[in-house]
């Protein structure tokens, strides 16, 4: 069970700027990369074939884009719960390969909260890191959270 389910539905009023989301670790054995290719349909050999990846200049096979995007969605979804929504992703820039045999960590923190763009909008800075440093981002996931029934912001 994820932190998101265990904690119950988070509300906008519970959130503070600077708040850290629980980090998520993704050990990357070949097995996970193959499962990801099969399920997200990115069969490019750079993501499951060491020789092929090295021939293209990469140090090893590495995680594909949809797997990495899904990591960002998971860390946010764990935190916003099922009543939250995701409105957009910015700055998802892949800076280094998330190679097999390493662990990719996903870290996130709240950078702003607002009710100007509709009630309960939260901008969350997200990044991936492995043993070499930042590999993806930092970028921003814009999400929404429901308001409490007695919210000073009104209800959604």
């Amino acid at each position: 069970m994820t932190a998101g389910r265990a904690a119950g539905q988070r509300r906008f009023e519970d959130v503070r700027e600077g708040e850290e989301l629980p980090s998520v670790a993704y050990p990357l054995p070949v097995y996970r990369l193959v499962m990801a290719a099969g399920s997200n349909r990115d069969f490019n050999s750079i993501h499951h074939n060491t020789d092929y990846a090295r021939a293209t200049g990469a140090p090893e096979m590495y995680a594909n884009t949809s797997l990495l995007l899904g990591m960002w969605e998971r860390i946010v979804r764990d935190w916003i719960g099922p009543a939250g929504t995701i409105r957009g992703i910015r700055g998802f820039r892949m800076r280094a390969f998330n190679v097999v045999g390493d662990t990719t960590w996903v870290h996130a923190r709240v950078v702003s909260v607002t009710t100007e763009d509709g009630p309960g909008t939260v901008d969350i800075e997200v990044r991936c890191e492995n043993s070499a440093g930042v590999t993806v981002g930092p970028g921003t996931v814009r999400a929404t959270l429901p308001l409490r029934a007695d919210s000073a912001y009104g209800t959604d």
């Binding site: 069970m1 994820t2 998101g4 389910r5 996970r32 499962m35 990801a36 099969g38 399920s39 997200n40 349909r41 990115d42 069969f43 490019n44 050999s45 750079i46 074939n49 020789d51 092929y52 021939a55 293209t56 200049g57 990469a58 884009t65 949809s66 797997l67 995007l69 899904g70 990591m71 960002w72 969605e73 998971r74 979804r77 764990d78 719960g81 099922p82 009543a83 929504t85 995701i86 409105r87 957009g88 992703i89 910015r90 700055g91 998802f92 820039r93 892949m94």
Partner: protein, 197 residues
Amino acid sequence: MNSAGENGDWQAAWKPVVDAVGRDFSDGTTVFGADPVERGAIRRFLEPLELDCALHTDPAVARAHGFADVTMPYTGLITWTIPPMWEPGQTLFDSAERDAQPVHSPINNQDMPLGPRTTGFFATGIEFDFLRPVVAGERVGRSGRRLVDCVPKETSVGRGAFLTWESDIVTEADGEVVARIRTSTYAYEPTPKGAVR
């Protein structure tokens, strides 16, 4: 045309692409994903992510949140807009070599009519605007393929260019725009092993 020339004119080879920034390279048709969004495919998508949210697995929970069925993870838009790898009548593999590639793949950089032919290709960045979640039973596709940026650059893996494309994600049922996507890729010719530039 070869992007890996030994002189400095490799960047000039990308000028037709740079000049085409702003052009829609689509033929006006929407390119749909191979299959509608399905509960089983969503479940398999979640597995390597260990993404545990009942919106994606429990129809009753999804309905309680206002959806007709389980929802596709937002970031599944790429997966569910990829055309099929194979269709009846086609040959997908014609070589038994260990690292042989399929005869064709929907994930490639070979359908760009301008600029150098490159053998290396990977995504470098993505941006999304999600207008609403997609639910099981819907089929989605990409409408439009507008080139919004092209920057030739030599990197540690080779010479090529960073390209950014923009598309709408639409439903098959009525063409409703459910998301917008900007995809950045690096198309390049790998630097030969031991080469010094």
